[in-house]
Point group: C2
Chain length 102, copies 2
Amino acid sequence: MRAYRHPASGEIELTRVLYALSDPVRLDVARQLHRDGEATCAALDRGRPKSSMSHHFRVLREAGVVRTRIEGATHVNSLRRDDLDALFPGLLDVVLRERQRV
Amino acid sequence: MRAYRHPASGEIELTRVLYALSDPVRLDVARQLHRDGEATCAALDRGRPKSSMSHHFRVLREAGVVRTRIEGATHVNSLRRDDLDALFPGLLDVVLRERQRV
DNA sequence: ACGGTTGTTCGATAACTACCGAACTGGCAC
DNA sequence: GTGCCAGTTCGGTAGTTATCGAACAACCGT
């Protein structure tokens, strides 16, 4: 598979980011990426079907929350920390805090 | 009309807040409330139909973003700044900043 | 080339959401 | 009470989204 299209930093829209993070599954993915740095799709599925997770990763990716790098047969995801912190300083800090009700 | 049911501070869920703010119309409402302190529904409609605005206010209210106080025939809305700042410190600060793309 | 693994795409369904006109409710002033 | 005003609720429609199985594509090791 060829590399994904990711939105450039200047194309990232706040409402899309908020929407992407407003789903418990996707918020959980973001938090795990925050904890673990990066992870493959399979490492984050929590038993959910692959097709469902693929959908959620697409939403996160197209919103600009996550970057997916292809490494052989696996897709390695990471948070776009730098871009998001620059655009929306403090947003990830509060959203990714564990221990708070989702 | 009788007073609305608002979620208690402890019932406010992050994902619902994010969802409520992920709509450009509702985000705009929140920003105007931030600027103006409080406002009636009619003052925030920007020409949209009343029934549409009523829907958006309901989403904001049930997510815990807005509190609606009934004052005679008008409904006065205000941001739940204190509750949201306590629960999700920094969230409103970044989301309500004008000048950034929605 | 084959088999196993990783993840995407397709297709279908169910649930939800936005939108708006029309009818309605409650408050206020006269 | 009559009329007006502020908002809500209802009903319907159109568009979106979540979900998941099944089929598919790409990569890797043997």
